[in-house]
């Protein structure tokens, strides 16, 4: 979803212009938030841009609908959404698949159509909007012919269930559960509408189920987009059908659903009280679980940068909580967590620098720092930095350059070493980029050298104008994969006073407390030596390399 958020500006333009070939936009939402992003419902984007939204519920449907999405996109000449949710997208199951069809090699189509692919002009924009509305209507017909949405009408006056995406996968199980717990619902009294394509709204099917049932349940995770449409249709049809969903308080807008949750709607439909066994699980005792904040890996160079920023703030005589340090997307945001607690904000790709500038221009007189990773800087940090240079604010920007796009699985970015750039890609020199923008106050430092990095941070914070510190050291995971050897770090047991300062300041997972001293877990330690640099008793020693 966050990927779509950053692409959304362009997406609207694509939707309004339409496309020549098939274009499918895959987006995965995260009800229940397992990955630490906004718990948003991207169907709202589809409504905004009049785009088709397909919602596969199983691994097989993910495969089947991807193919159909391309066919549909080609047929209507507009992009089509395919939306997963975490539990569908990450699931493993057996799959029936066809032989892979690769595009027949063709010359690229070079089609000049100014009225379709530009926007500056009222007549052009109005025509594009009209075409979009008509392609959206066309999609509804194609989806109906394809039979993606499955309507089964039971006895008139019974219970209707409309379920979208993964929720439709829980209906059978929910009915079994509800009846096991005494709901006493006869199967012939149930009408179901299982939706794989939620947008355009399947108006005919929704009307049919509304007209057939005395009560209708709407089961969809996150936002009540469908449910609102059902209310709207009921009003238009002049019906006062009872509608069960989020807006009557039965279901939640938070979290993912399961059969037990869906079954609560069945009880609401019968007017019976929901039995305790379906009201979520036992939580007594969960509060005892230890908090487990995610931290930087052992050997992570960002650890050195955050230690240096914290030390510099202290050495300059400031309190930690009066110096604002903004954060950005990626591994670098882990500076928000203990023991660093350095970062104050995380918004979107590249936002760290403009947010910091905004605070300065709003009148914050104490130093403000912005932190950003190398790939995020290349992707979206540069415009913000240009703005800060133009406005000549007193801002310290720290680029944490580990050479990889680490958080998302170690992709190559423009700054990654040339050896890893696939032909014909070439490495872009980060230092030259920053210099080229006109930054005169630029420092390059190695975050494994704490004293030097701290000194540079102090100097930068104390200097006027836009300052950039590039803290450069390769991602520890990747360096280990490349068998980079930083040497062995050991605790001299006789010297260790067990003061735990090393653990407190670095929070490194390779440091383990024994009974009377600290020791280093060799299986985790990469030899970065940051812990040795904070030990006042010389009890941690790094062998010379």
């Amino acid at each position: 979803m966050s990927g779509l958020n950053v692409a959304y500006d362009s997406l609207i333009g694509f939707a309004y212009s339409g496309t020549n070939g098939g274009m499918v936009v895959y987006v995965a939402d995260d009800p229940g938030v397992t990955t630490g992003m906004c718990e948003q419902d991207s169907r709202g984007f589809a409504i905004m841009s009049d785009m088709v939204m397909l919602e596969p519920a199983t691994v097989q449907e993910c495969y089947d609908y991807t193919k159909f999405a391309f066919e549909l996109s080609e047929a209507i000449g507009a992009p089509v959404f395919l939306r997963g949710v975490t539990n569908v997208s990450q699931s493993h199951a057996l799959l029936e698949y066809e032989e892979r069809l690769l595009p027949v090699e063709k010359e690229p189509i070079l089609k000049k159509d100014i009225a379709k692919y530009t926007k500056a002009g009222s007549a052009i924009c109005t025509a594009q909007h009209k075409a979009l509305i008509s392609s959206f209507a066309e999609a509804e017909k194609i989806i109906r012919v394809k039979g993606l949405n499955e309507l089964k009408l039971g006895k008139k006056g019974g219970i209707g269930i409309i379920a979208a995406g993964v929720s439709k996968q829980y209906l059978t199980e929910a009915l079994v559960l509800a009846n096991r717990e005494g709901a006493a619902i006869a199967e012939e009294n149930i009408s179901t509408l299982k939706l794989a394509a939620t947008l355009p709204f399947p108006v005919q099917e929704l009307q049919a189920i509304l007209q057939n049932c005395s009560v209708v349940i709407v089961a969809e995770e996150l936002e009540p987009h469908l449910e609102r449409e059902v209310y709207h249709l009921a009003y238009k049809l002049g019906m006062d059908t009872k509608i069960i969903g989020k807006m009557d308080g039965t279901y939640s807008r938070l979290g993912e659903y399961n059969a037990g949750i869906i079954a609560q709607g069945l009880f609401a439909a019968t007017g019976k009280a929901v039995p305790a066994v379906l009201k979520g699980g036992i939580t007594a005792g969960m509060e005892l679980a230890a908090a487990r904040p995610i931290t930087t890996c052992s050997g992570c160079p960002h650890r050195g940068t955050y230690m240096a920023i914290n030390a510099a703030i202290k050495h300059l005589g400031y309190k930690k909580d009066e110096i604002m340090v903004t954060g950005d997307i990626g591994c670098t945001i882990l500076g928000m967590n203990p023991p660093f607690h350095t970062l104050w904000t995380e918004v979107s790709m590249g936002a760290s620098i403009p947010i910091a500038q905004g605070y300065i221009q709003a009148g914050v007189t104490k130093p403000v720092l912005a932190t950003i990773g190398d790939s995020t800087f290349f992707h979206a940090g540069i415009p913000g930095l240009i703005n800060a240079i133009q406005q000549n604010v007193d801002l310290t920007v720290v680029i944490l350059d580990n050479g990889w796009t680490a958080m998302t699985g170690m992709q190559v970015n423009p700054g990654t070493l040339q050896d890893y750039q696939k032909d014909p890609c070439q490495q872009v020199d980060l230092v030259k980029v920053v210099q080229g923008l006109g930054v005169e106050q630029l420092w390059l430092t190695d975050p494994y050298d704490l004293a030097a990095t701290t000194k540079i941070m102090q100097e930068a914070i104390d200097t006027k104008g836009v300052k950039v510190v590039i803290a450069r050291r390769e991602c520890a995971i990747q360096a280990t994969r490349r068998k980079v050897d930083y040497g062995k770090v050991q605790v001299i047991q006789e010297k260790c006073t067990n003061c735990k300062v090393c653990v407190n300041i670095t929070g490194c997972p390779a440091l383990v407390l024994a009974e009377n001293s600290v020791y280093i877990d060799d299986s985790q330690c990469n030899g970065c030596g940051l812990c040795a640099q904070v030990c006042k008793f010389n009890a941690i020693q790094k062998e010379a390399k």
């Binding site: 990450q90 059978t172 079994v176 699980g281 005792g285 230890a290």
Partner: protein
Amino acid sequence: MKTYDIYIVGVGGQGVLTIGDLISEAAVKANIPISFFPTKGMSQRGGLVKAQLRLCSGDVGPSMPEQSADLVVAMELSEALKALPYLGKNTEYLLYGNVWLPTAAMLGKAKYPAKEKVCAAIEKAGAKLYYVEPKALPFYEGKPVRDNLFVLGAIMANTGLQKLLSAEAIAEIIAQKWPKAKAANLTAFNGGLNYGVL
């Protein structure tokens, strides 16, 4: 329709997903329909990892209802509490009492639950508890073996999963999957099979 639902929790790096993979592969080989939903999240950085496996799944979704797991497996003492909502009166709970202290708990700045309290919470929720002692982890050539495979052995020896899958089939998959580490891994798995929790 009756699924056999398994919920596994642990910390990133403990091999939770490998246990899920092995059970899934064994189920596929036994022609048992399976849905395996691992949640990796921030696992690489030492966060919570959980997995849901639904065996004999026909028309079911990836997430199981609360209070209805047939089997819960925890690879870490504190994380064991995260599975409490899935416990019902027919749940078997295999708890591997490994303690993986978060830094703050290590420093005594944050609480970490006592074993007795974790076990009491699990039993209070109505589950049948099998406690597996980490000290029982076997050694191979002087080094402790992979504890996830040891735990999988203990699962196969003690829980209802043995009615669906055979330990022999899992041992065979382990041997084929990591041919170089076959001896060490089978020492781990067989150690679990022979470990008498009850």
